[in-house]
């Protein structure tokens, strides 16, 4: 008894924690003292609990057999049953193939173009034209996918711009709607995405490039380095970390292809090559009401996405001299 009194009155080493009851008391005391500032944060905490954490808890229906008459807690547990069905569901695997196909095309083509475009804009010497190019290149980003989808559908219709152009050039003899041709869908999805986002993707790169020390370029010029060599040896190395960061984020999003784009461009003719995982979740859950199954698909995808994020981060950090970019 005497011992504890001594211990508590003496200066306690910082490593030792105070008893829980005392810490709670202190917390309540401080909370009351800070009530004004706490009242600003509290709505945010309540929001997160309701709109972020309750749905995360709701993922448990992936392991249940949830029907419309059930509540979250009354639905019976079925373990991994839903995941077993996924494994033998060929529509799901079609959606996986399409998602990966479209995402890899977008990654292979769409990742490089903004970098090249940013360098080209950066190399422009005329201030006014440079501003004009930037202004125009950002514009498509602000159109919604519904608007762009509507535009694509009119252009690709049999009497539309696209067919007219090919007919006049003599490349085809009969007009056809390529949006109904499932074999071309991956390219339509990829190229329309690039048209919309390439210019917008240059902003960050241009911001980084504006911080490169101009004396590097002057020194290179004196050494007789050509413009291309300057780009290769000065501009690109300076962009390395932001390029890796973008790459990580793109790779981790490989499985989440654009739902808006798919919903507006998909039709009964091209479904076989257009259905992606997200639209499949939408169809199974929202249209067919199979909530448990759709949630299981969504959960599987998020788990794989997190694994991709971690893997991509560790690979690029090895490439960047063990410095994690995330």
């Amino acid at each position: 008894m005497n011992k504890t009194a001594v211990a508590s009155s003496a200066a306690i080493p910082p490593a030792r924690k105070k008893p829980v009851s005392q810490r709670v008391k202190e917390f309540i005391r401080d909370y009351k003292r800070q009530w004004e500032i706490q009242s600003m944060v509290l709505p945010g905490i309540i929001f997160m609990i309701i709109f972020c954490y309750i749905p995360i808890y709701g993922l448990s229906i992936a392991f249940k057999n949830y029907t419309v008459i059930d509540t979250l807690s009354s639905a019976p547990w079925v373990g991994l049953e839903n995941f077993k069905i996924i494994m033998s569901d060929e529509y799901f695997w079609d959606a996986v193939v399409n998602t990966l196909g479209i995402s890899f095309l977008k990654l292979a083509v769409g990742f490089v173009i903004p970098i090249i475009l940013a360098i080209m804009i950066y190399e422009l010497n005329m201030g006014r034209f440079k501003k004009f190019v930037q202004t125009i290149s950002y514009l498509p980003h602000f159109l919604s996918w519904i608007v762009l989808g509507g535009m694509l559908i009119t252009w690709f219709s049999t009497s539309g711009l696209f067919n007219e152009l090919l007919l006049n050039l003599g490349l085809i003899s009969k007009p056809s709607n390529i949006l109904l041709d499932s074999g071309k869908y991956w390219w339509i999805a990829t190229l329309s995405d690039i048209w919309k986002e390439a210019g917008w993707g240059t902003i960050l790169y241009l911001a980084i490039m504006s911080k490169i020390d101009p004396t590097y370029y002057e020194a290179a010029k004196i050494d007789g380095a050509s413009r291309l060599r300057q780009i290769w040896n000065i501009t690109l190395p300076n962009m390395k970390s932001i390029i890796s960061l973008n790459l990580i984020l793109t790779v981790s999003g490989l499985l989440g292809s654009n739902l808006d784009q798919t919903l507006v461009l998909m039709n009964s003719q091209n479904r076989a090559r257009a259905e992606v995982i997200n639209s499949y979740v939408y169809r199974m859950g929202m249209t067919q009401g199979d909530f448990s199954y759709a949630t299981a698909v969504g959960l599987g995808v998020s788990i794989v996405s997190v694994i991709l994020l971690v893997t991509a981060n560790s690979i690029t950090s090895k490439l960047n001299d063990n410095q994690s970019v995330l």
């Binding site: 909370y31 004004e36 944060v41 422009l124 602000f142 519904i146 608007v147 009119t154 998020s302």
Partner: protein, 295 residues
């Protein structure tokens, strides 16, 4: 030596010329389709039926726009779009600023927990179905508030505002405290007016998002009176697509009328964003930079 300099100069000029030409091609690829949509929407049905590339209106006509505005539901949708964007942006910015201000105080109790909770929301979510079930049990299905309440908060925006508030000099707050001002008073009277640039950036980004959003309607709204323009346009597109697939080679008149209406609706849906564009552009670059600082 002299010759070498001249050669480099020529190389550099060739580089500039090629660069120029490629960028002009890039401009054409972006601008021509947009121009084509605008001009086509201003053409008569006859001109549209003739087809061909429309670069300049062959037969100027406002009939497409008249058809769109005769449909009273378009006006209603416009109203829904405008009101959900204005209400949504205002509440979102205020809500995020309030939380960001609270979290910008380093001595606030429980700060570590709050930040951890926020960061987790950036990487994990329940996904489509659990969120739908939540919205349903909250009674937000087919309610205007489904556009506003779930969109109130974004931890990303909270972080940007929090960092901005931290850069405000401490002395301002201290002198206000000495005068007896409370935290709410300081936040509303000092920090909000000082943070207008940061809040305007977030407001513009969020506004574009709200205006363009269509998934919220697709998931949670079945009442046509609550359809925003994007959803209305989506319906017109889907409708015309099934129509043109059903009568391949069929009535060309129907196809061109729906085409004209579709084009006019596209222009009307996009116009507010393009009209805002000069104001937007000034802010969004600094906004992207603010986001980058965090990374």
């Amino acid at each position: 030596m002299n010759r070498k300099v001249v050669k480099e100069d020529i190389d550099s000029r060739i580089f500039d010329a090629v660069n120029m030409i490629l960028l002009v091609i890039f401009m054409v690829i972006i601008l021509v389709p947009l121009w084509n949509v605008i001009i086509s929407s201003l053409s008569s049905g006859k001109a549209l039926a003739e087809g061909g590339f429309i670069f300049w209106s062959k037969e100027f006509s406002l009939e497409n726009y008249r058809a769109v505005f005769n449909d009273s539901s378009i006006g209603q949708s416009f109203l829904v779009s405008v009101s959900k964007t204005f209400v949504g942006v205002f509440t979102h910015v205020f809500f995020c600023a309030m939380i960001g201000y609270g979290l910008s105080k380093r001595d606030i109790r429980g700060r570590k927990l709050y930040v951890a909770m926020g960061v987790i929301t950036m990487f994990f979510s329940g996904g489509m179905i659990p969120t739908y079930l939540l919205i349903k049990s909250l009674g937000l299905l087919n309610s205007f508030w489904v556009y506003i309440i779930p969109a109130l908060f974004s931890y990303y925006d909270v972080v940007i505002l929090m960092n901005f508030f931290r850069n405000v000099p401490d002395s301002l707050e201290e002198s206000a405290k000495i005068d007896g001002a409370g935290d709410w008073h300081i936040f509303l009277k000092i920090f909000i007016p000082l943070s207008m640039p940061a809040m305007a950036t977030i407001a513009l980004f969020n506004g574009v998002g709200q205006w363009n959003d269509f998934m919220t309607t697709k998931l949670y709204i079945t009442n046509q009176a609550l359809y925003p323009l994007q959803m209305k346009l989506y319906e017109i597109i889907v409708q015309s697509q099934t129509q043109s697939m059903q009568n391949i080679g069929g009535s060309a008149v129907i196809e061109t009328t729906t085409k004209g209406v579709q084009l006019a609706t596209i222009v009307i849906t996009t116009l507010p964003i393009v009209a805002m564009y000069p104001i937007l552009q000034r802010y969004f670059i600094s906004g992207m930079m603010m986001g980058a600082v965090k990374e």
